[in-house]
Each structure stands twice: as structure tokens, then as C-alpha cells.
């Protein structure tokens, strides 16, 4: 569908990519400075690569070999910018209809009313961008990009400028858009939860290169996602099935083989898979399981490997076939006599478990 095969140099930085994007929703995950925006700018035509080619559905949009470059206005790609970039002199309504194609015969056109309904911006239409909150602004930015009936929707960290609470409120809108419109979506972010929530396929982007690709849950829970872990500071990402969801007790229980992991209650379906993240230093190691304590999650596992990196002792722990990274001090390691093969207990406070997406 979208063939990306080009190089682009910007100062000391170089983006180099040679991949074909085929899924409906594709996410590029990488830290800031990894080339995410450069990639989107090249796809949208705002920037031109130095060399290579870029094809969409067989149409050449850029080719250094054929000396061809289709300007951004002829590509029909919607672009949602990180900062929104709504036109400050136009009302919400005018912003949304700015990119409206002037060809009413085109039946592939998206109905503006549908966009407004899905994004719930009907009451904002007569306002100006400076009269909107951050979340409203981003929704209007999405609506504006959809309003042009794009062939492809590009999103550059549309949620990054929002605070955490707002993010979780906007994310479902993006999910609805994915479901409601038949438009492929190319999403760039440094947030694992957004990728988990939206993407059919994920690419890991690091220093201008693709370092991994695959189905998001598989890709992000595999050990090869180490760069992602490092960049987000979360070492353990697991995707676990829900076995109990009790609103009364306020807990959701996830299965880790025969053992259970309790997290705070979220609306979910039994059997659904829930991606979670746990930091290595939020896991406590105990030799004796019979301590009386408030923490509800006490998991039994075996230490497979001990690595010392930069003064940190990292245990690689096998819990029912899942490998988790656990950080301890070298003092603790000596006093508890931790060694490879030691069976011990791992205590995790429910609040230390981050839900990446409530599915």
C-alpha cells in the first residue's frame, strides 16, 4: 500500500527506511529525535527525501530516479500535527471545511456531519481555536484532516501535548475513527499505550532506522523491544488475559499461567487481553512467602539470570514462562543470597502496575 524506501538527511541526523506499510493502522514508535516527524513530513510531501522513492497504492509520490515529486496538496493525505495547528483566524466550522474537496460527485467523501458526531464537536463549530481547550483543539484537528476525505491519515503524536487524563479521553475517539472510516492510518508516537490501543502493526524507530516491526502486542512484549523499554523507562510489558473483573471488590485479575495478578478495577470483558507495564524497580523480591503484608500480588518465580549493569543488579525472572526484569540493590542480592536458579517471591503493588489500554 505505502512503499517507503528513501533517505533523508537533516543536519547530523539521517532517516533511512526501506519498508512497505500494509496494515490499516500502522504505528511508528520511537523516542523524540528518532525521526518520527521527519518520516511523516516526507510522506506528506512537506519535506522531500534526498534519495529513493515513495509510492502509495502504486502511484509514485516521490522518486529521485524519475525526478518526480508530487506536492503535498496533490497527495490527499490528511495530517494531524502534534500541536494541532488549527487556523487561528477561522472558526472550527471553517477549519473543518478548509480541506473539503470541491468535487461533490466523489462518493468516497466522508460526511462532515458524521465526523462532527463521532468527535463530539458539534457545540464548538462557531468558536475560534483560541476559545478551545487542548483536548477540543486536538479533536478539531483530527476532524479537519478527516474533512478532506483523505486517502491516508497521518498523525504526529496527536496526544502528546495533552495531559494524561485528557489522553485517555481522546484515545477512544481515535479508536472510533479507526472503526468508522475506511482510511488507512499512519500513527507516530512515543507512547506504548497508544500503539497498543490503535495499531495493527507497529514499527520501532530508533535514530532514524527501523529496528523492529510486528504485531504490537507481540513486538512490544518480546525481549527485542528493549530499546522501547529503555526509552520509556518501563522494562516489563506484558499482555495478559483477564480472568476476573469485579466491580464490587474493585479489582481485575489477570492470569499469569496458574498465578493471578491483581490490578485496580477497569471496565473490561472476561477473556480480553490487557497490556500492562511494570517497572523493574517496582518489584520487590522475597525469599519467604509467609510475610503478612498488604500487597496482594505475590508471584512465585525462578531467577534465570543475574546481570550487573552500571551498578544496577538486574534479575531476569521466569514466572510461569513470562520473563520479567527485576531490579535489586547489590546489598539485597548478597543478603538474600540470590543466585541463578533461586526460587523466590515477587511482590508487586497493584498501583505499580500501569494499564496500557483498557480494552
Amino acid at each position: 500500500m505505502l512503499k517507503l524506501s528513501f533517505r533523508k538527511r537533516l543536519g547530523d541526523f539521517q532517516l533511512e527506511i526501506d519498508h512497505t506499510v500494509t496494515e490499516k493502522v500502522t504505528a511508528f514508535l520511537g523516542p523524540s529525535g528518532s525521526g518520527k516527524s521527519t518520516l511523516l513530513n516526507c510522506i506528506s510531501g512537506i519535506l522531500n527525501p534526498d534519495e529513493g522513492e515513495l509510492l502509495f497504492s502504486g502511484q509514485t509520490l516521490y522518486s529521485s530516479f524519475q525526478k518526480k515529486r508530487v506536492p503535498p496538496e496533490k497527495r490527499d493525505f490528511g495530517y494531524v500535527f502534534q500541536e494541532g495547528y488549527l487556523f487561528p483566524h477561522l472558526t472550527v466550522q471553517q477549519n473543518i471545511s478548509y480541506g473539503r474537496p470541491r468535487r461533490p460527485s466523489d462518493n468516497a467523501q466522508i460526511d462532515i456531519g458524521t465526523i462532527i458526531d463521532i468527535l463530539e464537536i458539534g457545540e464548538l463549530l462557531s468558536r475560534y481555536p483560541n476559545q478551545l481547550s487542548g483536548g477540543q483543539r486536538q479533536r478539531v484537528a483530527v476532524a479537519r484532516a478527516l474533512g478532506m476525505s483523505p486517502r491516508l491519515l497521518l498523525m504526529d503524536e496527536p496526544l502528546t501535548s495533552l495531559d494524561a487524563g485528557l489522553k485517555n479521553r481522546i484515545l477512544p475517539y481515535l479508536y472510533h475513527i479507526k472503526e468508522a472510516f475506511d482510511i488507512p492510518l499512519l500513527y507516530v508516537t512515543h507512547s506504548i499505550s497508544e500503539v497498543m490501543a490503535l495499531a495493527d502493526e507497529a514499527f520501532l524507530l530508533s535514530e532514524g532506522r527501523i529496528t523492529g516491526r510486528g504485531e504490537p502486542h507481540q513486538l512490544l512484549t518480546s525481549p527485542s523491544a528493549l530499546p522501547v523499554a529503555q526509552m520509556t523507562g518501563v522494562e516489563n510489558i506484558l499482555s495478559l488475559p483477564v480472568v476476573v473483573a469485579s466491580e464490587e471488590r474493585g479489582v481485575t485479575e489477570l492470569a499469569l499461567g496458574e498465578q493471578r495478578l491483581m490490578v485496580s478495577y477497569t471496565q473490561t470483558k472476561l477473556g480480553a487481553t490487557m497490556p500492562i507495564a511494570i517497572r523493574a524497580r517496582d518489584i520487590i523480591v522475597a525469599i519467604d512467602p509467609d510475610l503478612r503484608m498488604s500487597a496482594r500480588n505475590i508471584l512465585r518465580g525462578t531467577i534465570r539470570q543475574i546481570a550487573v549493569q552500571a551498578g544496577r543488579v538486574m534479575l531476569s525472572v521466569d514466572i510461569e514462562g513470562h520473563l520479567l526484569s527485576v531490579e535489586v540493590t547489590s546489598d539485597a542480592r548478597e543478603q538474600l543470597g540470590l543466585a541463578e536458579g533461586t526460587v523466590c517471591y515477587f511482590i508487586i503493588k497493584a498501583s505499580a502496575i500501569n494499564l496500557l489500554w483498557e480494552s
Binding site: 506528506s44 506536492p71 503535498p72 496538496e73 495547528y85 487561528p88 478548509y98 474537496p101
Partner: protein, 221 residues
């Protein structure tokens, strides 16, 4: 009250400055836009040529115009042969002189105004299907019009005060090419101090008002 000579100088000045502004605004926008948005070989040269009258002594600019526009000059000669038009020492020469002299100020204002518009907004418009021209008229211009008006007002008041170049190429013919500053100079020369005072007062008033409005335009965004 003003005498007929004073009124005619005032009216001529305002007419010429208005007509000049009308003529240089479109090319000013175009060149300001080109200088703000594009990089191309010879850009510095274009910039220098456009800005030159700002630092050149006005008399020198006027001298160049005189050479170009006289009946034996390349432009003036052509116009004379084709239309029998004599530009030098006519009101057209007044308009041309003040146009050349106020053009840099106008372009500077437009350039600065356009540069204050975030290029990402223009990029956003491009991705929404707008050609560069449509982007200019629907995004760049509406977002920079205050600065552009400010620049236009400054150019206009510069036109009203132009002396050296006008004197060179249009002369100082009362009722025909005698603008406000030229009239003031004349009145002082012949000792009509009262007339000079009145025109000086009017000049100062106009300059003050235009500058003040231009400042407001720049500040209130």
C-alpha cells in the same frame, strides 16, 4: 486657513502617495512573499536591489530615475516614441520617485509580517489540498495583514515626506509637481514663513498619526 498653493501641494502629495501605494502594493506583496518563503540563487541580489533606495541618498536615486526616464533614456525614450509621453517633470514622475523610495520600507514591512506566520500553519494548509497561491490568500495574508497594513502606512508616510528624488526627477513646479516637502522648502526660501509653518504643522500631524496607527497595527495582534 490654507492658501490655494498650500492646498494644492497637500492634495498633490496625498494623491501621489495614495496612487503610489496602490501601484507598489501588489509587487510589494509578491516580492515580500518571495523573499520570505523561497530560497533561490540571486536572492541576496534581489534583496539588495530592492532595499538599495533605503540607504542610497535620495538625490542619487532620483538621478538614476532621471537617466532612465528622460527622453533620451531607455525607458523614457521608449514611452516618448510609443505614446508621446514625457515623464520627467510631470506628476507621473512624482509618483514614480516616491514609489521607488518607499518601496523598500513597504517590502520590509510585508516581509517581516509574512515571516511571523508559522510555516507549519502553511504546511497544514498545503496538506489540506491548498496550492501555494491559495495558502497565501487564505492563511498567510489573513494572519499577517496587520503587519502588512503597518508596512503600507509607513511606506505611505515615507512617500509624503520624499524630497530629494522628487526634486531631481519631477522638479518643483507649483500646482504640478510641488509636493508638501517641496512647498515647505520653497516657502522658507522666499520667506513665506507662515505658509511654511502651516505645512510643517500638517506634515508633523500626518506623520504622527500614521506612525501611531502603524505601531498599533504591529502591537495589536
Amino acid at each position: 486657513m490654507l492658501t490655494a498653493a498650500e492646498v494644492s501641494a497637500l492634495v498633490l502629495s496625498i494623491k501621489a502617495a495614495s496612487l503610489s501605494l496602490l501601484c507598489i502594493l501588489p509587487p510589494g506583496l509578491l516580492i515580500g512573499w518571495i523573499l520570505a518563503k523561497f530560497s533561490f540563487p540571486g536572492k541576496s541580489l534581489l534583496n539588495t536591489v530592492v532595499m538599495l533606495p533605503m540607504v542610497l541618498p535620495p538625490v542619487v536615486s532620483g538621478f538614476f530615475l532621471l537617466i532612465l526616464l528622460s527622453k533620451r533614456g531607455p525607458i523614457g525614450g521608449l514611452l516618448f516614441r510609443l505614446f508621446g509621453l514625457e515623464i520627467v517633470f510631470s506628476w507621473i514622475a512624482v509618483v514614480l520617485a516616491i514609489s521607488v523610495l518607499s518601496f523598500p520600507l513597504l517590502v520590509r514591512g510585508i516581509l517581516t509580517a509574512i515571516e511571523t506566520v508559522d510555516p507549519q500553519l502553511e504546511n497544514a494548509a498545503r496538506t489540506l489540498g491548498a496550492s501555494p497561491l491559495k495558502v497565501f490568500f487564505t492563511v498567510t495574508l489573513p494572519l499577517s495583514y496587520r503587519g502588512i497594513i503597518g508596512g503600507a502606512i509607513l511606506g505611505f508616510s515615507r512617500s509624503l515626506g520624499e524630497f530629494g528624488a522628487t526634486m531631481m526627477v519631477a522638479g518643483n513646479i507649483p500646482g504640478k509637481t510641488q509636493t508638501l516637502p517641496l512647498a515647505i522648502y520653497n516657502f522658507v526660501q522666499v520667506g513665506q514663513d507662515l505658509s511654511a509653518y502651516r505645512l510643517v504643522f500638517i506634515s508633523t500631524l500626518i506623520a504622527f498619526a500614521t506612525l501611531w496607527i502603524a505601531e498599533r497595527m504591529y502591537i495589536k495582534r
